[in-house]
Assembly symmetry: C3
Homo-oligomer: 121 residues x 3
């Protein structure tokens, strides 16, 4: 979603030193930064988190919203619900391989809302 | 702890666009945002992290502060020790189901200190 | 790396209330805050993450950059690629035992770049 943010927040270009903060208003989706070049990295994230945050764990009590719900809450907190990215001379100062992932942790997620704040001058 | 923050930081109401930053000054407790409605979500977090960050792992060397100490350090870094929450028109811009968790990872934790910073205008 | 930051960013001393933000421009290294006194804590972090984010998992598809590459991407997102630390009266307001870890997740990592931003007044 890096491109979407750059085109929808033109204010970034007016900031010489600052921070772009992105916050997702949900408890079953998350935001992270990782490799943006090879799509298999994202598939491996999905596989790994499904293995280490399993559905139907015997210890879950919060089960009435579906077997994918409680794992989604845990994944959301493991990856985090906000990102802070430096802005330098009007551009996001990301590394060459870095891109922003919006991680949907429900099997059938709806639309998701983020709040984007630009700090700096 | 969402209510406690709102009542103890009246400055939030004076900010139209900004960020509330909460930082916990400890290495065996953490801060995260997750579902605030059903208390079993928090219990399932506790169970999950106890399963995937076990006590008495054979590879632990840092054991002299008790069997719950090293897992507490790891859980603290997995969940993170700070939160950044957008402020919009004098209110925390949280999602409907989002609440702030202060996660105590020691079996017998003492009092915990947080530093709260408001940025914006 | 707490000491390195304090000496290379003298601007911290001019801020009475603010935030220091540190961002690592890589997808196979991370930043976290944890116990800075006993070096075995860091060794146990390494052991724990090697156990719970294994190399050569059967489900990995992104394997052509070496067996330590995909685990490094996952560890990087679990721990996170940025830190926000409060500044109070010209000093980082860290807890007694807190120190900044730069976590290298590749077996043979090269040099790593961070961007440091000071916000506040």
């Amino acid at each position: 979603m890096t491109e979407e943010i750059l085109t929808s927040i033109p204010e970034i270009s007016e900031v010489s030193i600052g921070i772009l903060q992105i916050f997702i208003k949900h408890t079953s989706a998350s935001l992270t930064i990782n490799e943006n070049a090879d799509p298999t990295v994202r598939q491996d994230f999905e596989s790994h988190f499904n293995e280490f945050v399993p559905e139907n764990a015997s210890y879950y009590k919060h089960t009435y919203e579906g077997s994918d719900d409680m794992p989604a809450h845990i994944k959301s907190s493991l990856l985090g619900n906000s990102l802070s990215i430096p802005i330098t001379n009007g551009r996001l100062n990301l590394g060459t391989w870095q891109g922003i992932y919006l991680c949907e942790h429900r099997n059938y997620g709806g639309s998701r809302k983020v709040v984007i704040t630009v700090l700096g001058s």
